[in-house]
């Protein structure tokens, strides 16, 4: 099975992280944007897979993402399923840190439950964004992350 991130998952992860980064005044805005994305996914995924199940998914996604993004080397998953250890972004970064992690998490979800259900889960959380894991170009071009 291909464990590298798909362009579709990468694109959606990038948009989710950018969206959360742009929500500067929201509660928890002082935590890294990728952590906020993970945190928002934690609740519905824990409902489906249990807290242990979600933690296992996230740990797996993190292990795979570390191969792609060395800035994640200090990140770890805490027993409650939250994340810690992400470095602050700097101007040299090509994109927000943690995009690879979120993309891997989405890729794992797609592998387990398929694109349709994953899209639905994500869409339920970020209802003002539009997603299409099969063809991201079909998503709403007017959403604020584009």
């Amino acid at each position: 099975m291909n464990q590298t991130n798909s362009p579709e998952a990468q694109d959606i992860a990038r948009r989710l992280v950018a969206y959360e980064a742009g929500a500067g005044s929201a509660p928890g805005a002082n935590t890294p944007a990728a952590f906020r994305v993970s945190e928002k996914l934690r609740r519905p995924l824990s409902t489906l897979a249990g807290a242990t199940g979600f933690r296992a998914l996230l740990a797996r996604a993190l292990m795979l993402a570390k191969r792609e993004d060395h800035s994640l080397s200090a990140v770890c998953v805490k027993p409650d399923g939250s994340l810690e250890g992400l470095k602050e972004p700097n101007d040299d970064d090509a994109e927000e840190p943690g995009v690879a992690l979120i993309a891997q998490l989405l890729r794992l979800l797609v592998a387990f439950i398929g694109e349709a259900l994953t899209t639905r889960l994500v869409q339920d959380i970020w209802s003002d964004l539009s997603f299409n894991l099969t063809n991201p170009g079909e998503a709403n071009r007017h959403d604020p992350t584009r």
Binding site: P44, L45, S46, L48, T52, I113, L117, D124
Partner: protein, 492 residues
């Protein structure tokens, strides 16, 4: 208490074809049900069908998983079924994993969590899967289990929800486990291996408030999920059609005459004979005669495909292609080796409803029996009895063929001893006459009245079966080795 005073129990559709009928119309609303059985027998799939058939955004379904398969894995596999509607996820159907709650807070925590979620969502359906793991977790305290289950049942029922507990139980637990006492409905699923075939059956062991069809019902799991086949297929309780005076032509005027004017409508006719005696041809002529008179028909074949069947009929001048295409004829080819009798019957009934058929051919009974899964073959006679009784009861005229070994010392009527199941019997057999193997039909039995006692010769021609003259010059014809009679000896 008058009828008006009684509470009316609404019945919910199960979403499982055939199961509403078995349940006596559907699932009693607000009932507390257990779906039990061994692993892999379809419990979770059955529950999902209930859920997707009934959940709405206003009255969603809550699906709790405890220590069994986590919901994420369940979603992975259940979405393969056609009933699974992705758009219902989270809005109408919500999955909640309770494994952490059980580990950290025990029974009380589970009850609290279910109560809290049920109160918040006001669901119409609640499923707890897999319940056995919960019970087993505290098996050393029976009273605690009983109290827990009763509280859960009362809680869920009081909250206007129809609830399901799914569990892996052994039948030996039926007597001792308090959970079965509390339940309003008890669905038991079985998966039985018979030689190389797997047969799935379900039984409604208990259903409070309404009358279900008793006994074991076959079910199958396909891409569409569970499909159940009622033992009675909804044919019980229907008034039997009173036999009329109408006679149906078999398509051969001379044979109609021998039958006393044709086959009485609603009769079951058996044509028995050895290979090559023309049983299938007679059956095809019977169907073709009906089509010509505007009576749709069905042919159930087990040894050849529909196009082959129609092609063979055309070589005898019978046009079955046209009715096959215009829908007045349906040829059902039943795939061999793993059929259950119930689903076979369902397929025939569906075809009858679709075509409005008045005539049914089963060609042949031996092929039919061979097509069944081994476990059903022992019940074949009972099934035939039930099928013939049910179908003739709604006015269908059935013609079955039966392959028989030719013997030249006996005249057996039926090797299956099923002759008592049929109203009328025609026996076809070979006779040796003047160095030729010739054929005779004999009308053995006509329950509806008088019939010809003649023994006539018949031939199979390109125009079908042609009945010839009575063979008056021979005795002992039915032995197969006749003797020229004294009457026919030339006078000196």
């Amino acid at each position: 208490m008058t009828r008006q005073d009684k509470v009316i129990i609404q019945k919910l559709p199960t979403g499982v074809p055939g199961l509403d009928e078995i349940l006596g119309g559907g699932l009693p609303q607000f009932s507390f049900n257990i779906i039990a059985g061994a692993p892999g027998c379809g419990k979770t799939t059955l529950a999902h069908q209930f859920v997707f058939a009934n959940a709405t955004p206003e009255r969603p379904a809550l699906y709790f998983t405890v220590l069994g398969e986590p919901a994420l894995k369940m979603l992975r596999y259940q979405q393969q079924y056609t009933f699974f509607n992705v758009s219902k996820l989270n809005s109408s159907v919500r999955f909640i994993d309770l494994s952490e709650i059980l580990i950290h807070r025990g029974f009380a925590g589970i009850l609290d969590e279910i109560a809290k979620d049920v109160e918040a969502a006001s669901p119409s359906i609640v499923v707890v899967d897999s319940f056995r793991t919960v019970v087993r977790g505290a098996h050393d305290n029976e009273m605690e289990i009983q109290v827990f289950v009763q509280r859960l049942g009362l809680l869920l029922t009081a909250l206007e929800a129809t609830t399901f507990l799914i569990g892996e139980y052994a039948e030996s637990e039926l007597r001792d486990n308090p959970v079965f006492t509390v339940a309003d409905g008890l669905f038991w699923l079985y998966q039985i291996v018979e030689r190389n075939s797997i047969v799935r059956k379900l039984q409604i062991m208990k259903l409070r408030g309404q009358t279900s069809v008793p006994g074991m019902h076959t079910f199958r799991i396909t891409d569409a999920g569970v499909q159940a086949f009622s033992r009675t297929l909804g044919l019980t309780g229907r008034p039997r059609k009173m036999p009329g005076q109408k006679r149906l032509s078999i398509g051969i005027p001379q044979l109609d005459e021998m039958l006393g004017g044709g086959i009485p409508e609603g009769d079951s006719l058996l044509i028995a004979g050895s290979s090559g005696t023309g049983k299938s041809l007679l059956a095809a002529q019977f169907i073709a005669a009906g089509i010509r008179q505007g009576e749709p028909g069905i042919v159930a074949v087990f040894e050849e495909r529909p196009d082959e069947y129609a092609g063979r009929a055309s070589s005898f001048g019978l046009d079955l292609d046209t009715p096959l295409h215009d829908g007045s004829l349906q040829v059902i080819y039943l795939r061999p080796l793993d059929l259950s009798v119930d689903e076979t019957m369902q397929e025939i009934l569906d075809a009858i409803r679709k075509t409005g058929a008045r005539r049914l051919v089963i060609d042949s009974l031996a092929g039919f029996e061979m097509a069944l899964a081994p476990g059903f073959r022992t019940d074949f006679r009972e099934f035939l009895y039930w099928m013939i009784f049910a179908l003739t009861g709604i006015g269908i005229t059935i013609l079955s063929t039966l392959e028989m070994e030719e013997t030249f010392t006996e005249f057996p009527v039926s090797s299956y001893s099923i002759s008592f199941l049929t109203d009328d019997i025609i026996r076809l057999r070979y006779v040796e006459i003047e160095g030729q193997l010739r054929k005779i039909p004999t009308i053995i039995k006509m329950r509806g009245g008088a019939h010809s006692k003649d023994i006539r010769e018949y031939e199979i021609t390109s125009k079908g079966v042609i009945i010839g003259e009575r063979l008056t010059d021979y005795d002992h014809l039915i032995t197969g080795i006749p003797r020229r009679s004294d009457r026919s000896e030339p006078k000196e």
